[in-house]
Amino acid sequence: MTVQATVEKVPKLKMVRIYIMGREYLVPEGLTILKAMEYAGYRMIRGVGCRAGFCGACSTVYRLKDDYRLYTALACQTTVQDGMYLVQLPFVPAKKPRYDIEKLKPDFSTILMHFPEVTRCVQCNTCTKVCPQEVEVMDAIQAILRGDIETAAHLTFDCIACGICSMRCPAEIVHYHVFQMVRRLYGKYIAKKSKHLEERIKEIEEGKFREEMDRLVRAGPEEWKKLYAQREIEPD
């Protein structure tokens, strides 16, 4: 049973012309930008990560035939088009400020202290336009500017730190660094803590399950099989 699916199996493969950093290559139609680069002969080191759209390693910027616009994409999730003129942006030169989350307050003054450049936002919306994850980047910065940490945390949740917004921002904000701090501030200080969790940890520390667990560990496969078959499954 052959499980591998590959576009090369399609009869009469149609080819398209793409330009990798200006050099022309003919690649099969239907490949992702990433697979097209590999087809062309690139053994990727930079510019590839999870290959599934979660890690932001494969940020790509490109233009199309007769179109002045600059487009952005994740190479692993985007199909090539004839005439695509592309380059990857595998790195953003931006050192993250160091901080101790235990010592921070969840408000605008904290953000301002670590990222004063957020006040330079001119609301041009370039960041939102280039985001491959459809995050409302400018709205998130705006929420932060008016101290609304909670909204900003939720708006930026899907950010994969690909960095395209930061490379294009005229105010030179490194959005994903700001957003990471904002989300942690929300998760630590604004979201309520779980009471059940505290209780369970205490129970474990006090040894509530120790005896039964000792016995269970020593019990062996026969006993485990019985217990497994007797499990009560909680309904959905």
């Binding site: 591998q4 599934a52 009471k195 369970r200 940890i201 485990w224």
Partner: protein
Amino acid sequence: MSEYPGYPEEFWESIEKVEATRERRLKEVFKRITPEEKEELLRKWHPDYRPEGKRPLRIGPNKGDSVPNEVADLLESHALIDPKEIDLSDIDYDVDVLIIGGGGAAASAALWAHYSGVKAENILMTTKLRLGDANTKMAQGGIQAADRPEDSPIIHFIDVIGGGHYANKPELVRILVEEAPLIIKWHEELGLMYDKDAEGNFIEIHGGGTSKKRMHAAKDYTGLEIMRVLMDEILNKEIPVLEFTPAVELLMDDRGQVAGAILYNLETKQYYVVRAKATVLATGGFGRLHIQGFPTTNHYGATMDGVVMAYRVGAHLRDMDATQYHPTGAAYPEQIVGQLVTEKVRGLGAQLVNVDGDQFIYPLEPRDVVSSAIIRECYGRNKGIITPTGMRGVWLDSPMIEIIHGEGTIKRYLAAMYRQFKRFNIDITKEPILVFPTLHYMNGGVEINTHAQALNAKGEPIPGLFACGEVTGGVHGKNRLMGNSLLDINVFGRRAGIYAAEHVKHASVGKLTLKHIIKWEELLKKEGIVTDRRAPMILPDYRGERVLSRAIEIRF
């Protein structure tokens, strides 16, 4: 006939059938599999049971054990480096704790070594891609922890050991389930955004094989959320990280200890000698080996380098014959074949349905059962859907989620999935997803004890060597449950960090040596293994055939 522009026309008839049976199926609960049916299903249809897929190892601590061919190929290989080319007297990094890996287990180990007293400058993390580039980031559905009063670590233990076919090391399972709430608490303190209700209670759902709802999730970006917070802490604590610098061989000393590693800068081609009192392997899984030709959910660097290197210093491997295929990898469109469609989709109520619109298995059986059932449906009963590239699959009826939990559920809790398919013009709130099993997880690996120490064939710890996360074996037995990998990397990453920190307090390293590699080469000869294969693999090679046939190395 209705049109589904994201799918080829030949699928439309089947999708209509799925829609037609949906109402009936909403009230239908497919019968759970009996232990006897399970055994037969696995034996006949699980890829692990195909004899052509495996062979006995001819060398090393697990000589004679049956492992997948691709695994045997890497273990029965020459080293990448020639010891004669390496000058061990010139040490580039001299540290207390060397951590090989860049994912969740590596980050946990680094942080807990640091919390346990090892100064940041005495820790070194090294990884073949970037910090955070690992399978961790791609995990979607959730992390298990028995923190509700209706649940307990005892019940969690039984779920784990049953799912693992009773082959797990019970003392490791105990630690996994007992320390789970602690890990969630640690995450809460770090500021992780788990899904919670207005009162602060975690929203917990079922995963495959769980008897109680204990999956904590952060939408369907759980792994990403965990990884990025841990990464943030690594940077905040200023723990040194070398990127694009994989380890290519472990170092030993003249006292039989593991004493560090040889690293290789992929961009400058320079090697580095790292001397370390404790070395922690957190190198992850083996998805990029494409076992039995399966596509994979794994990241680019999942090539089981840690297993290879550990094997050469005498580490014993466990359960390498148990490969986990995730039942629902994307089967269409071709661009994303093999990519993960999280189990959470089934956790929220979506059913698996064949070409006629009928269920054929209870969706939340353990993964090996569901995978086998899908393979049987496609290749045994021929009730699958065949794509233009020859891929086969069954439907995962995601629109059911909107009906059961209300409109907007998918966009809210499965944002990643929704986006992934929308990019290819498929709306999973209205259209089912085509899925087929995909290579997902290395259930086995380097054997460890409760202190995360790597063990040799006699069960003794190899001094100086620790391991945690997917690279290890014994925690999950023959089959891991959903949500226990994110748990594993945190629990045992933490232990590796704590016990490595303890180890370095009294440890001292002797004279560095690569004699074990010379011995390895001799052993290859002795066992009659003739090959030009080299390992570890480091990265897969996907270059086009034409290029590969004409690519040559030129020195200039």
